[in-house]
């Protein structure tokens, strides 16, 4: 304090904008945004209607199908992906316990949501990653955007998303995709940039067009990294389902949210472990699948 007594006020208190200026600016932006949302709400609703319908349909498909069918389909997919009896049996046991503790329907809701979000993130992330790898200028623009997407607390961008789309599955999905797509984009970009220059040169020397190079050389050689990106994306969309439950997505996340609010220790952990189990199933299956795609690089000549 002593120092500040003898110094001019300017050096002691940061010269901030006045409260009234900030308030006025905030009000203008908020009102402007609200007005914008209000005047276009019908158009926005109509635009996301098909997505809403699709999400509802998928959720109903997962929840209303008889559980043995879902379980069998799931085990078949896991086995075809991993070709591992251990992973398949593990999946069966995990799903059995999820069902045993009465979480089957919630797990199905979460599964449906995660599946859709992952597919969206992959379909969105791979082309952006390819463009980034191709043009340095795109990379220069997209990279800081990805930084913001990964570090901005999801609650913050949920505010405008909820204002625009209201509460429900669509804003939930948007929140999850925003959170889960950056690793997909980054790893696709990285994978393509790391492709052996010599092999690319060979492709050029044989007269490959840009598209032929992408299809025959860059994507196949970047595949291990792209698969790691898909794996990360799956993990991150699962991690986001709790946050998504705040904007009206049901499932295991909603139970966790309820448990947090009410300090239900057991409920919280049961649902938490169910999420972990699903995450491990996804992870092991996709990793084993990725490894199998790379089989040609395993047998090394001595």
């Amino acid at each position: 304090m002593a120092l500040c007594d003898s110094l001019p006020a300017l050096l002691c208190k940061f010269p901030a904008l006045s409260d009234s200026t900030i308030r006025a600016g905030r009000k203008t932006i908020d009102d402007g945004f609200r007005a914008f949302v209000r005047s276009y709400s019908s158009i926005i609703d109509a635009a996301v209607q098909p997505l809403q319908v699709f999400l509802n349909f998928l959720e109903r498909l997962f929840v209303t199908s008889p559980w043995p069918i879902i379980l069998i389909v799931m085990l078949v997919i896991v086995y075809l992906g991993s070709r591992s009896v251990r992973v398949t049996i593990g999946t069966a046991i995990a799903m059995y316990f999820i069902g045993l503790f009465g979480l089957w329907n919630d797990a199905m809701v979460t599964l449906a949501m995660t599946t859709v979000c992952t597919i969206f993130a992959v379909l969105l992330g791979i082309p952006i990653g390819i463009l980034m790898a191709r043009f340095d200028r795109v990379q220069a623009v997209v990279n800081p955007v990805l930084d913001v997407m990964q570090t901005m607390p999801s609650f913050v961008y949920l505010i405008p998303v909820v204002m625009i789309f209201g509460i429900g599955k669509v804003p939930g999905m948007i929140a999850v995709v925003i959170y889960a797509v950056p690793p997909m984009i980054r790893l696709t970009n990285l994978g393509i940039r790391l492709v052996d220059k010599e092999v690319l040169e060979a492709a050029d020397a044989f007269g490959s067009s840009g598209w032929q190079k992408l299809r025959n050389v860059q994507i196949p050689l970047a595949l291990p990294t792209i698969m790691a990106g898909i794996n990360q994306t799956i993990m991150m969309s699962l991690a986001m389902v709790v946050v998504a439950s705040m904007v009206g997505v049901g499932g295991l996340g909603k139970n966790v949210l309820g448990a947090i609010n009410n300090q239900f220790f057991t409920v919280g952990f049961l649902n938490g472990f169910a999420l972990v189990a699903i995450a491990i199933i996804f992870d092991r299956t996709s990793q084993a699948f990725g490894k199998r795609l790379q089989k040609h690089s395993e047998v090394v000549h001595g």
Binding site: E198, E201, A205, F206, L221, L223, V299, H301
Partner: protein, 350 residues
């Protein structure tokens, strides 16, 4: 399919963002070191003029950093020249637009790389069809042609192996088969055998020489190994610091090295396998004596033949079996072991 000669005319390459700005200064005498010190640009190639023989093997030799790999990449323009021309069949490769260049690369050239540059996720046969696949040749046809060349380079039975499952020598056979399947007039080989064991290298050289006898492609072969250059090259150009120090036949270079740099190279060469009998023969005096030796026979072969026949003199005959000169075992052995005494004789013969 007739191959044409490749003419490289006053080709310059300056590496760096503003290479073209310094080209005039380099042409008027700015040296590689000065260019680097003053402007931070690297002079890759300067004033290259080479005429590469049609249907023959042109070897470009030099140590690492001499610009030989840069030079070969100008022929299919994997590297853009700063100035100069690369002519093939009257067309300047350096002036082609993107589409023409792609067509040129697809149909006229094929390349073999030092580190093989195979696609790891494709089997041998899938790698081999690559060039044809790019050209849009139907799968059945290209696979048939690929299998033929896989067989010719000695890889039958390995069609469905992945590159990782093969040894270096076998991988390079795939690289060669891939290039040959393209059926291009120009074959570019960038240190193609440098990564191979010596024995396998000689083996692969033989494969190339045997194939070249029937194919008669215009081959450009890059190497840092003089023995390899002498064995393969119909014509050899030696590069140093981005400049051609000497070019000519192997014999020209071994007999009359242009400077100390090349002399140092040539010292270790097995001269008996490079020098031909007509180079050291003496004019006929009187009737031809001893056994006949064909023109173009290398000293080692001639000496072996004469020793086997137990004769110490032989006469050299031309294509029409007319005697044109005479050699003795002594002169042959002298020429094989003593470089210095030999230069005089070379000049005398010329």
């Amino acid at each position: 399919m007739a191959s044409h000669a490749i003419e490289i005319k006053s080709l310059y390459k300056i590496f760096g963002p503003r290479g073209a700005d310094y080209i005039e200064q380099v042409k008027s005498g700015l040296s590689k070191a000065e260019l680097n010190a003053k402007y931070g640009h690297v002079l890759g190639l300067q004033d290259i003029n080479i005429s590469m023989p049609a249907g023959g093997v042109m070897v470009v030799m030099g140590l690492s950093g001499s610009g030989k790999s840069t030079l070969i990449r100008h022929i299919n323009r994997l590297i853009e020249p700063t100035s100069g021309e690369v002519l093939y069949d009257g067309v300047d490769v350096c002036r082609m637009n993107d589409r023409d260049l792609r067509e040129f690369r697809r149909h006229k050239t094929a390349m073999v790389f030092q580190k093989f540059a195979l696609l790891p996720h494709r089997t041998v046969v899938e790698n081999t069809v690559y060039g044809l696949e790019i050209q849009g040749v139907p799968a059945a046809e290209s696979e048939k042609r690929a299998r033929y060349w896989i067989d010719r380079v000695g890889l039958s039975g390995f069609e469905n192996h992945y590159p990782n499952q093969l040894s270096g020598g076998m991988q390079q056979r795939v690289g060669l088969a891939r290039a040959l399947t393209n059926d291009a007039e120009i074959l570019l080989m960038d240190e193609a055998y440098s990564a191979l064991d010596p024995l396998i290298r000689v083996d692969m050289q033989t494969v190339l020489l045997d194939l070249q006898k029937e194919l008669k492609k215009t081959v450009v072969f890059i190497t840092h190994d003089l023995d390899e250059a002498l064995r393969l090259g119909d014509k050899i150009a030696i590069l140093r610091d981005g400049r051609v120090v000497q070019q000519g036949t192997g014999q020209d270079i071994v007999l009359a090295p242009a400077d100390d740099y090349i002399t140092a190279f040539v010292k270790e060469v097995n001269r008996g396998r490079v020098i031909n009998v007509e180079t050291i023969m003496k004019p006929l005096s009187g009737n031809p004596e001893g056994m006949p030796v064909a023109k173009g026979t290398v000293l080692e072969t001639a000496a072996r033949a004469m020793t086997t026949a137990g004769q110490s003199t032989a006469h050299v005959v031309d294509e029409a079996n007319r005697p044109v000169g005479t050699v003795s075992l002594d002169t042959i052995i002298a020429a094989m072991v003593t470089p210095t005494s030999h230069d005089a004789e070379a000049q005398q013969a010329a």
